[in-house]
Amino acid sequence: MANQDRAQAQGFPTRLDRRALLKRSGVVAAAPALAAALPGAAMAAGGGAVSSRWVRAQEGTGLLVGISTDIDHLDPRQANTQEAYFANANVYDCLVLYELGSANLRPGLAESWDISEDGLTYTFHLRQGVTYHDGTPFNADAVITWYNSIKEGTPGSQFDATKMPYMAGFLTDLVSEVAKVDDATVTFTLPKPFSPLLANLAIPIFGVPSPKAIQQYALDLSVNPSGTGAFMLASPDDWTRDSQLTLTANPNYWGGAPSVGKVVFKVGPESSTRLQQVETGEIDIALFLTPDDVKKARDNADLQVVEDAGLNTNNVEFNVRKEPFTSKEVRQALNYAVNKEELSQGLYDGGMVAAGGVLPPSDWAYNPELKSYPFDSAKAKELLTTAGYSEANPLKFTFMVYTVARGYNPAGDRLGTAIQEYWKQVGVEAEIQTEEWTQYRADRRADKFQVSLSGWQGDNGDPDNFLYALLGKANWGGANTSWYDNPEVEALLLQAQEISDQAQRTELYHQAEQMIVDDAPWVFLGYQKHQVVVRTTVTDFQLQPTYIYYLAGVKKA
């Protein structure tokens, strides 16, 4: 089922819907008495903010997008922040793109593709007549130049060691050769079948830059971008680092000229600032607001919250090789002890969807039938007794908790305290310890933790990116830091990597996920909702599960 359908089934509009807006327009925020008492305050009818001359000064400047941190590179190969992924996805095209509003795939710079019977050869038929922003034509040579620039050790390689984890893991380690057949055809040869490859190619870091710009600028392409995308950087003066980036519509875009003439990305580190900006119209779209600010935005008739269950997971990880977590009863008991629904409401203002397993509802292999562990203290106590614990001999351990807010857990360390309290209710004594975030990640990989808060943000919308990345044996000490290894699960996951039929893969993932839930290597907590606040003047804005947004079709009244 398409992501959009699933989201709507849950009651989340993924697209701006006029009727939903009208229903909401009766809601008027009560302006605080203090502001009302101020002389000369021209209150707007909706949110109480004024539509000031600052907003009028920006009229005609295009679609204004409020983001929280600097766009680090306008080079997909070097981009390293979510904001940069988003911007790059609108300047560059990948061979394969995501369908609007879902993680399903659609043709990008490759018009179509064939996969050989053995799954080892991918033949891409390239789109004809596409031109880069710098005038260079797009063709097979462009693909080869780009691929060589990221494949370490090949002629023309500009590989930067800091990009290793992404470039290598998602593409160059999986492919043995990329070859030109003719001007309009390239083949990717794989040493072994790997069906998530197509989804990987749609990640914005695999946007294909102009070969001329790659050769001319090398790593400085990030400030001299040239792609085939819907928007382009018209002049270096249009980019003030850490402040704002203005992109101009590409009238020759192969997907049709964009609806807005310009897109301006404005950096505002504070969530509260971005909320006020979107309320007054200083920006049209506010990203990454705190759950609290999203709640406030719901009361403003000028604003719409566009949301779905995010492509992420928020969980507690057991190190299944360390006592006492070698015991399945203990792991299951600690699952039963936690009340996810209460966490969602109490800690996240309703911003978390309780987990049924590993995969979030925005993933295509999501199994709505799977219901992991309901809240059941009695059952938890019973399992603990079976495992040999009692009031006289309580279960005790050190619980590692990070302190920063993450996309999958905006509450930061408060989540740890809440879980500690749930466990205390069933007689478990967890002692919380914290570490600075970088150190935390290092120690977790180094097998130093017993139980820890964890989480994951999906990269490509493929279930393999959750299930095998987090629970496959090859990723021990990488992303699999519960050191989970179930040979049956491993076999299913590896088999699913080799099949390209989505229905067959879904079946295998359902089986594997059921076994994982039963093994309980994690406390399956939930999925943080993906929420973007948009002014009602903006239409056709669509969420992508991978937290990027294609802006070519977005309209502004």
Partner: protein
């Protein structure tokens, strides 16, 4: 005088070497490996090792220190580990905006703080005195961050007098020379940009000025009170000078010496306050630049910024000492 300045400048060298060493040691003490920070959550052990090699992070400590000193001496810190752009180029972009904000705040602090202190001293123990000092107390007690959020809410969000955030309106283009936005608008004769950048500067500069303003006001007041009791002022009055002249020419100039010291010290506070102000008002600047760098363990950037700020402090201290001589002819350096 020239010899004194030269001697002071020579003494800057050991100071900077001390600062450099302290920065290097501190960076080594921060928990967290820059290679892991750079690699992100998804890297494998070999990939992290590769990064360590690429950036020389696996070299012995003394060798790393030598490279660091070399980059400081040549003022070439190489490229940022995060943005892969030359540190010098990026720093230049952010420094202009921060200095402009700090100077604007300092000017507001002086323009308001000194008169406030003078009025309080000359009208000692009157309602005016108490009023000014309550204002000063408020200024010093309000955290910059909080004051910023409250003033944005009232003046920008509710009343629309100022824009909420940013440094320039979206539609305005500005060619950069110094990266001080007001300065560049004037230099390029770009009047719409001047209007817009001043509008964006005023509120953050005021917020940033509150603490130094309060300190300057209190310092001016107590210093004035001391000077006003001096014999030479009685003489000035006795020879028939108008009170205004007595205060402005004879008292204030002498009272300003300790105030100048305080201003010198406050400039450091301004730079750190500038970071908070930049965050609340979403202005680009050195403060935010270095904090992002610390999060990413971007060593070249951290080292460059700390060195730059250290040099700035040393120069300000030197300037303060020289201004003494100008304000008080009795002070000689030789």
């Amino acid at each position: 005088m020239t010899r004194y300045i030269l001697r002071r400048l020579v003494l800057v060298v050991p100071t900077l070497i001390g600062i450099l060493t302290a920065v290097f040691v501190l960076l080594q003490l921060i928990p967290g490996d820059p290679a892991i920070a750079l690699a992100g959550e998804k890297a494998t052990a070999q990939q992290i090792e590769k990064i360590r090699e690429a950036y020389g992070l696996n070299r012995p400590m003394p060798v790393q220190y030598a490279y660091f000193v070399k980059s400081a001496v040549t003022l070439d810190f190489g490229r940022s580990l995060r943005t892969h752009q030359p540190v010098g180029k990026e720093l230049r972009q952010f420094f202009g905006a921060t200095i402009e904000l700090s100077l604007a705040a300092l000017i507001i602090a002086l323009l308001v703080g000194i008169p406030l202190g003078v009025v309080a001293a000359t009208r000692r123990n009157t309602a005016l005195d108490y009023g000014s000092m309550i204002v000063a107390l408020l200024g010093i007690s309000m955290p910059v961050y909080w004051a910023g959020i409250v003033l944005i809410y009232l003046l920008s969000f509710r009343l629309g007098i100022f824009p909420i955030a940013g440094i320039l309106d979206s539609g305005i283009k500005l060619r950069h020379i110094t990266y001080g936005y007001v300065t560049d608008s004037i230099l390029t004769g770009n009047w719409p940009a001047l209007r817009s950048s001043l509008n964006h500067l005023l509120l953050p500069a005021f917020v940033l000025s509150t603490i130094p303003m309060a300190i300057v006001a209190r310092m001016t007041r107590s210093s004035m009170l001391e000077v006003l009791g001096q014999d030479y002022l009685r003489t000035a009055r006795a020879k028939g000078l108008r009170e205004r002249l007595v205060v402005a020419r004879h008292a204030l100039k002498n009272a300003l010496i300790p105030v100048v010291t305080v201003i010198g010290l406050q400039f450091g506070g301004l730079l750190s306050g500038a970071f908070l102000t930049e965050t609340v008002f979403a202005r680009p600047g050195v403060g935010r630049y270095v904090v992002t760098a610390i999060g990413a363990r971007d060593y070249p950037v951290i080292q460059a910024v700390v060195l730059l700020i250290a040099i700035l402090f040393v120069l300000i201290n030197l300037a303060v000492d020289l201004i003494y001589a100008f304000l008080d002819p009795r002070i000689h350096y030789g």
